[in-house]
Symmetry: D2
């Protein structure tokens, strides 16, 4: 039976076993490199129910390989540790029970060292089954597992940033002396887009998640898309104009959230004696007016667009307009904007961009068969899609058809916005 990833790709597009082994070593190593800056305490603690400990991320992605690759490929499979099946299962009901998510940070044992040993053991076993004779299903599942691990690399950075942000000592994840200021913002402007009958979704000539499929048609009226992201300076104007205190700008659920949470600025902004600072992975830094605003919720993005006399783009508008943008951004711990004059140069590698589209199945979508079918489809309710990618998105993980999604009130992802309007 075809695995989900297999289903999405023509044979010709599949990486070889040799290529996958290389990528496996690279991606697995990258996770550990990200965790290297963390103390055992940093790696263990969970700062809110939405976040997970770094140690949990390191173990869960390993569980994914153990469960979906080793358990199926090893004839004499034995679990590395019998308790891990439940402890590191995130949400796969098809696999069995899961340890309660809000308590992930309470698992002080196994230690970080034991989790790293778990990783090494599973790495060895995966590489052993990933020989040149590995069948296509196995290759596809390993490839899925690597993309899954990259998603968790981004989550790990989001989560560690949140954890450090609640510490009154403002500790830096890395290099507190780094300059995060942008030289200058690109000049703003609008790009006219013709709309009409467009094609969207993954082509099937390279890896994609099931939620990007099938490729399908949609009709768009003419529209305009902002050539650059909204900046911190612009967000300051929104604040100064009473953006956070005027209910008429907000969706009803957004206004309820603003009121209940007493939001007055993006998540990591700190006002010290009248000056705005921003908590970053490089520690507390003066707010850079030219950088794109980041860590705003969908509610805030929508209110800003309302205030600006514009709106957020739909997913289809975003994808149709930016289908041909190059997508190989540099990795960084904080978005610096794109100083150049090139329109849409900040499509990828800066901040995820909220759309006005709810996260729903594409026409003709069906989730992958088996337990990995729980990967995406069951979250298609109450969430909002984002497009592009962020500065902390792992290299090679971004693509124009990628559909990221969060609840409209969430803002610990590296999310910002790009405006749109009707033509």
């Amino acid at each position: 039976m075809a695995t989900p990833a297999q289903r999405l790709m023509p044979t010709s597009a599949r990486p070889t076993a040799a290529a996958l082994r290389d990528r496996f070593r690279a991606v697995r190593g990258a996770s550990e490199a990200l965790a290297a800056a963390l103390s055992p305490e940093d790696a263990c603690v969970q700062s809110m129910p939405d976040a997970s400990p770094a140690k949990w991320h390191l173990a869960h992605v390993t569980w994914f390989f153990e469960t979906f690759v080793l358990e199926r490929a090893e004839s004499d499979f034995r679990a590395h540790h019998p308790a891990f099946r439940e402890l590191y299962n995130s949400y796969y009901n098809g696999i069995g029970r899961q340890f309660p998510r809000p308590q992930r940070g309470l698992i002080t044992r196994p230690s970080l060292d034991e989790v790293l040993a778990y990783r090494r053991a599973v790495d060895t076993r995966v590489l052993a089954v990933l020989g040149d004779d590995a069948d296509a299903a196995l290759l596809a599942t390993v490839e899925l597992g690597l993309h899954h691990e990259q998603q968790h690399q981004e989550l790990l950075l989001m989560d560690i940033k949140h954890l450090l942000s609640v510490n009154p000592l403002h500790p830096a994840y890395a290099d507190a002396t780094a300059q995060v200021a942008a030289a200058s913002a690109a000049t703003g402007g609008w790009q006219d887009c013709a709309g009409g009958l467009v094609e969207l979704g993954a082509h099937g000539d390279a890896f994609s998640f099931d939620n990007e499929t099938p490729r399908h048609r949609a009709w768009l009226e003419p529209y305009r898309l902002a050539t650059r992201l909204v900046t911190n300076a612009e967000w300051c104007e929104f604040i100064a104009d009473g953006g956070y205190t005027n209910p008429l700008l907000w969706l009803a659920d957004g206004w309820a959230t603003v009121s209940a949470e007493d939001w007055k600025a993006p998540l990591y902004w700190r006002n010290l004696d009248g000056e705005w600072f921003e908590f970053t992975l490089h520690g507390l830094q003066p707010l850079d007016p030219h950088a794109p605003v980041v860590h705003v919720s969908h509610f805030e993005a929508d209110a800003y667009a309302q205030w600006a006399g514009a709106r957020l783009p739909t997913e289809a508008e975003w994808e149709a307009a930016l289908a041909d943008q190059p997508c190989a951004p540099a990795f960084a711990l904080h978005p610096r904007g794109s100083a150049g004059a090139q329109p849409f140069a900040d499509a990828f590698g800066q901040v995820w961009q909220w759309t006005r589209s709810a996260y729903l199945p594409y026409p003709g979508f069906s989730p992958a068969a088996g337990a990995v079918g729980e990967y995406n489809g069951k979250f298609m309710s109450n969430q909002q899609t984002l497009r592009g990618s962020a500065c902390i998105t792992p290299s090679g993980h971004a693509r124009v058809t990628y559909r990221n999604f969060f609840y409209p009130q969430q803002r610990w992802a590296f999310c910002g916005l790009r405006l749109a309007c009707d033509a």
Copy 2:
């Protein structure tokens, strides 16, 4: 400046002042007729934050006319009671502060009699300004007010049903001896629909809410739509097959809700000694297997569709397929299904039908100007649309472009489902 309703209609389509006066008397009278079966206590109490007291509905719709019609049309306007501006404002931030929604049931005074007196006083004043020389803006606002009042007539019945349902005496709103059983269910089947580039939304030749506009194009792949609604008998099979206990059938948020609320059946089903009964506005009744299932949430509807190997239709699919269905259903306090063989005979007048579409703005949508602009647009987040109409929807209020919306976990509306699938 054009009012929202005005904006939506060509002059030729507007009702005359004389016709509006007749409709005003009819609609206003209908509200009071619905409330006539209620004691002062029934009319005062609020059984959950989502519901409102009947007395509040009667007063709020009157406040709407006082605020949006009289305050603008009377040169010597004086409020009927100065406290009512805040007390009976539902959510219009543009008008000012609102009395907290969850406390609406605590307002024992003014009494029901005083609220009925408020109605009569405002009725007199509205009819006085609604002379033959009334301008188009005034006429449009009155028409909007009447549609608004009809929405609250349906809410009033939903809310009173919920209130009576929590009473262990199972009191009937009306006629506890009424037979609610259907003769038989229509034969099920699928209608093939071609899709392609379709047109959706209000034509503008009659009244519609702003959220139904503008008329626009959408692209649909071929699909199939069930010719009748899902029945109670079918829902019993879903329950018997473990529908409420299998997480793999559910959206993640749905499963969380089922677990937290311990749902085991639709909202008003009661299992007495192994037999299913259903609480209705006619009191507790044996469950009719042939009637359409009602009072299921979007989460339940989606899980049922998953179980049935189908899915919910999108809004566009629903509207494109049923655009030509007759829409003049009979009013009733409980859905009895449509016994006839005619496909889609149950499109209107039975139960609202959940779609898989989130409640989002149509391309080109902009909310009405002024305070009534808060009518619809600000709720376009986290909610799911429903199509058709229910047995308790007031006569003349249903139309094929109508977009109803509720949160996916809500189920006190008369909501059910019709299946769809890909062609």
Copy 3:
């Protein structure tokens, strides 16, 4: 087997059947007189979980007679309505299930009229079994039922006051033109009390609740007791001196409550344009500086005492000092203080007085046998005792050994304070 009340009294002290019939008519009539000012809506609604609807009070006290008197005394007992046994059971687990307390206000049917009919039917039946040949157990239970009903009369007024207080129209329960101002406050002062080995608790020569027994000894060090209650004027000084903003004055749980609830004044004080008003059963009234402060929690009373360099008295100190005070105060809807110079003239009939004693069993206490044993003992946890009586306490219900009790954060009872200090 002896009933609880029987156990407490020598035969000689028991009222005769004839006397009880007279009291029964008087007390039952008094409840209905208190409810006469209420509309059906007023009588139905519950404004918070701690409160109950007036209609519920009227029914529950009737249920008490039906369950504990008629069910035991009538050989052919039939319930007035089978559902009432659960619906109007407050908390007697020994009797069976109870309708959930926070939902009492949702029971719009039976109507107020039906409850009044329930009362009349039970009255007739109780008087029928209360013949001159009624045995001692029956007489004792009827007497307990009458004291129980008097407690609910006071609760009914507390609860209706809270309900009306949340209404922005400030409706008066009765006579909104009544003057509630006191002429002047009594001169304050301290009474020296010798302490030593004192006797406390009910003598057994008249009715008392089981929690007042047994009479027992306690040792007291010398102390001083304030000869009058703390006044509104004094409370204003406390507020002006930052009483509500200085954590050092407060018990830790008190400070947590003040912070969470944002308390700034007693429960029913309203500051309108810089002037203090007080919501009373006579509607909103200017604050009377000479009247005793009322509707303060134990936390507030304790913080005030701390601020004043004093403390609250213990139960034993209060009872030992005031054992000989006359106890036949006039009924009123709001405390006016006692203008005279007589020390302790305000011991009864003004406000309940918080003590520093937790509500715990007396040495040798055992709860009454049978279901009425749930009357008092099971509440002996987390609550604080109050002594004296309030202006709204029914005539004949107050006595020096009476132990009232509420949670330390509650303040909708008519509660104030009298200071004490060490000698």
Copy 4:
């Protein structure tokens, strides 16, 4: 001005500076010894709001010395780290703001090593100011600080036990192979106690907390006290007899807690395939029937006593009866009971014993002056006292007048019970 501890002791009873330096080294070293078995993760995480991380305990007790000793004794005082004043202040409003208690576990930095360095730095400075010429106030504050640190040693073990208990791997704090089984339980029995006018509270000839003072008189009726603690075997009988399902045994607040929390056994009992196990600091162990029951709430203790036809003793009864018991128990990580025949041999060093007394001030009590006055008095609300000491209470910390206190629903302390009844 006299410090609180100073106030409590005659000059002759004060330890010398030399003796205090020795005790300082011993107590400080003991804290670190307790933490030595913990990984950095173990020491950082907080498993519930009532608990604190071990690292926080180590830092907070150090903050106590820094704030109350060094800041007053060093003329050139400089804080070890400016942020620690707020970060490690527990609840002293007199000192300033406090980092929110429920977030203590989020402070991954400073690391455990940095906290240990903080300890060493403060140790050096305290020993420097604690010369032979140190004045009495300084000595008294150091002594208070050492008793404070011993309290936190016990809390540290309670908290780490709770943390490990939520881990599905059942990790042991220490020596998972230790035998925790008792040889046999002492024979039960009752000791008759005469009561009368007794003296209670600290004598003032040795250290005590302010809440143990002043010594005062109380009157007791004759009573009987159980000569040994309630055992696990007895608790099993209570469970088997429906103890957790019969509301008539429970205080009303207790029953609400049992129902809401779904309690079916003491906190750390685990039923595996029909056998009872108990999670201990030595890991999961078979339940020892002869050992005293531990980790029951006051609510459970009260219900058990009710079921057993007895009651809990008052504080005064406990202290009067056990005043002459030797109090030098051996330290252990789990209570094993006292196998010997000696009555009351288990008064100390096994489990804290719930009393029926609320935690209230003694007659004549006044809290210590200054910020340390927040030590005890402000918690005298809603809590229940316990007497004796537990197996994990540090050596030298127990005494007959010691008043421990917890909320009646709390059960993560090592708390059990001893029965009493009226003579």
